[in-house]
Symmetry: C2
Subunit: 143 residues, 2 copies
Amino acid sequence: MTRTTELGLAAGLVRLANLVNRVFADVAREHGITPQQAQLLCKLIQGPVGMAELGRKLDLEKSSLTGLVDRAERRGLVRRVRDRRDRRACLIELTDDGTRIAFETHQVVCDELEKAAVEVPVADQERMTDVIARIAPDAPEQG
Amino acid sequence: MTRTTELGLAAGLVRLANLVNRVFADVAREHGITPQQAQLLCKLIQGPVGMAELGRKLDLEKSSLTGLVDRAERRGLVRRVRDRRDRRACLIELTDDGTRIAFETHQVVCDELEKAAVEVPVADQERMTDVIARIAPDAPEQG
DNA sequence: TATTGTTATACTCTATAACTATA
DNA sequence: TATAGTTATAGAGTATAACAATA
């Protein structure tokens, strides 16, 4: 009996979030970037994204994102390219260096999290994944 | 079929963490404090804690914690008290204001998270909580 | 010597408000 | 008018290194 009944669902979710945050911070640090930069890179893996949509994905004010992208650009992780269909807008895309770090970060984060769950039966893992899909809505993509 | 099979466990955990982070940020903002201050207050609900242990609980360098506590103290949320058994150490404890905000924050965060899971059958919630208890180790208490 | 905590310093992150340019 | 993004500013968060005091 490992007194699991004393942990509520909400408390468990908070604990889980702390674990994920810690893993993200550790992995980012190993790559010499900040957790926020790691989050940014991961959002760009599927292709260039405009500032507005990126702000929604990362839940950041546009000016906060400007700074985050500025610093990431200065480090050679991303670059701004013009959006041909809207001359106000720009698209943020990964550089080669950014792409490499993005994939490695994503991979290691997933590895670490799955390692943490290695003792959980696969059936339970799948059930949990299904439940998560219902609890946590997909990140806002198109606003 | 809501294409749940395309979501891996790790990706789900990250998504879940984002949800929790967002809830924490929203609730903190409603109380006029930062997410980090909210986290700090929640760690003090069970009683005064020394800086070293608090640093382990929050996964922060001691100097970072000094600043966090400084600002929380300036806002009247916590106070430093001397540790009678160790003259190097101090204990951080909640003020009345801090206690009120800590409980409200904790309550609202739990409410919001449980609301997000309201459509999940209770049996699945309990199963998930058990799985979480195995995945996410308890926060380091005694270091 | 090790531990507890602070200070000094340098960045990074974030929001609000005001702004420019384009739609 | 509305939207995309930047700039200016201020405050908060964080780490590293060096330090003081106590164990």
